[in-house]
Symmetry: C2
Subunit: 338 residues, 2 copies
DNA sequence: AGAATCTGTGAAAACGCTTGCATAATCTAT
DNA sequence: ATAGATTATGCAAGCGTTTTCACAGATTCT
């Protein structure tokens, strides 16, 4: 069997209480004893059993991750894996493990959350979501279970969350385009149920109107999904309604690199090339065309990192820790691949 | 506090042993008692504490995932997240949790493995690797700790692993190109330290020679990395050495979609368009150009699924379970995006 | 010198569960 | 009717820690 605290105690000629205290560097133990015990620990290659610790401490030192996303999105958008690395990093630095469960739909999702909680397997949960009226949030709140959310939820009251300033992001990218001389800028949005979609649209609107232009509904596409297909369709509609020439936008602000990809694809097919396109997520795809391309990097790794920080600070009972973080976005101008 | 087995026992008027036995549906308990206990369980909303269970059972019902990969690769290649979903799925179906730790380098990686094991936090480990002489494998083997590997390791003896038949994959794709009439086919390989690179090259070689052609070193690029840059460079070298015309290959077999992307990019820049390019991983990027493009789908989700199966079957002490799985690959011909 | 305080350590309970063994009650076979 | 087997349940030890409380011995104070 594995060496336990008992073996160490015996080897060092002390009681297990003393060993336990040496482990936590309790000041009540004399330096002499500490040395002796530590020597025994080393010689026996003793490592405390995490499970037994958890039981005694009523804390698992583990957090759970809940990914409620369609496989497609997960695969096409590096956002998730990036955020996960950020979470893992902060967790490791603070001696926490992270459990992860992938689910196809919201109901299963909730089940996982319930299982995590009721079986007391985790001390807290990080939720990937920006869905309106998320069931998990509701449940977790009701159960008074600690969690943090990546993506600003509907009701922020009493919940820990981290997000970009999506308003600011599209404002900035639109403003950037205007500063480059663009006067007619189209917008392609995401699913209307997500806060992120609304915010991005609002940011675009503001930038447009601040500069004295008006929103043209013919070149504004709302409530799509973050897909290539949608981007492609939008450009086709644009071609239909605007014909070419004056009415055609000189730039397009999209809400996702995949949408942008669809737009670029459609452009290439229609043999249009002088339209600036922007996206979100700074996906590798961005460099795929030979066009200049601007993408908003949402710093997913940081989003994850701070989501973990929010949660762990709360778990550790930190007083007056912040309740949310806004992670700045970066405009990344990818040159055509050299 | 939370309701424990004691509360249930009291409510049902039985001992905790009985409750425990009802939980595991022990046949020695009478149906009558079972009903009574189950009623109490429901009423009290009792859920067994996973930690306490683990301690008593000396099993955590948790497996650990170790990702030793550069962030870049992780982000650009959906392979990992796909495999992870497969793992999560099989684990969930069998009542296991999965822990995940992301690391930048091999040493930290080993540390995580050591921590997982020495603290007894997991029952087994899944390793993502195809690195020659992996330190983790060595360590895990030495410690007699259960693990499975995604990617065929150097020494397969006594280790559980799952992989594609990479030889077969490039053989197939090369053969496919030849059947389409291509006679001069270039090859772009991956890092020579990985088995996967060697296998893919061998498959290509075999297909070429089986059809009576010979390998031309001038159009064969080995020991690169799985990157866009490398693909780009290769095509440039091709242009330099082959000039255009007869000596130029009519098709290029690459070892990764990213390499293929680089090739396509360079082609576009040099205004070449009639060269068939193939890749690996069936990345969304594949559809990025408007060219026809063939990618080998490695079925990453299945790789993960079976890696989990191998491990869990072993953990559960399944007799004569297989020691490895070969997951078939699929040739995916992506039409130019409509 | 005796009381009060401080230091360093150990005994034992607690965390919430599983399981081997014991036992009481019922049933079967003689 | 009685020994033996069977069925249904409980007792208590054990899993490997942490932590409260107690206490012995050393130190300080009056």
């Amino acid at each position: 069997m594995n060496t336990t605290i008992n073996d160490v105690a015996k080897a060092a000629g002390v009681s297990i209480s003393t060993v336990s205290r040496v482990l936590s560097d309790n000041p009540r133990i004399s330096e002499d004893t500490k040395k002796r015990v530590r020597k025994a620990i080393k010689e026996l290659k003793y490592h405390p059993n995490a499970i037994a610790r958890s039981l005694a401490n009523k804390a698992t030192k583990t957090i759970g991750l809940i990914l409620n996303t369609e496989a497609q999105t997960l695969i096409r958008n590096p956002f998730f894996i990036q955020a996960m690395t950020g979470i893992s990093q902060y967790a490791q630095e603070n001696g926490y493990n992270v459990m992860f469960a992938y689910n196809k739909n919201e109901d299963e999702d909730l089940n996982i959350a319930i299982r995590y909680i009721t079986s007391r397997s985790v001390d807290g949960i990080i939720l990937f979501t920006s869905r309106a009226n998320d069931k998990c949030i509701e449940y977790l709140t009701k159960e008074h279970f600690l969690f943090s959310v990546i993506g600003r939820p509907d009701k922020t009251e009493g919940v820990l969350w981290v997000d970009n300033d999506n308003f600011q992001a599209t404002y900035q990218v639109t403003d950037f385009l205007i500063s480059k001389g663009h006067k007619k800028i189209s917008f392609i949005g995401g699913p209307i149920g997500h806060n992120v979609s609304r915010d991005r649209f609002e940011g675009y609107k503001r930038a447009i109107s601040v500069h004295g232009y008006t929103i043209d509904e013919n070149i504004t596409f709302l409530n799509g999904d973050f897909s290539e297909e949608f981007g492609y369709e939008c450009l086709q509609k644009l071609i239909e309604t605007c014909e070419f020439g004056e009415k055609f936008p000189t730039a397009i602000v999209t809400s996702d690199d995949m949408q942008a990809l669809g737009v670029l694809s459609a452009m290439r097919k229609a043999n249009i090339s002088n339209i600036a396109v922007t996206g979100f997520n700074n996906t590798p795809v961005a460099t795929c065309g030979n066009e200049v391309f601007v993408s908003v990097d949402v710093n997913a790794e940081k989003l994850g990192f701070y989501a973990a920080k929010l949660l762990l600070d709360k778990i550790e009972g930190e007083e007056d820790a912040p309740t949310h973080y806004i992670i700045p976005t970066d405009l990344v101008e990818s040159k055509p691949f050299i």
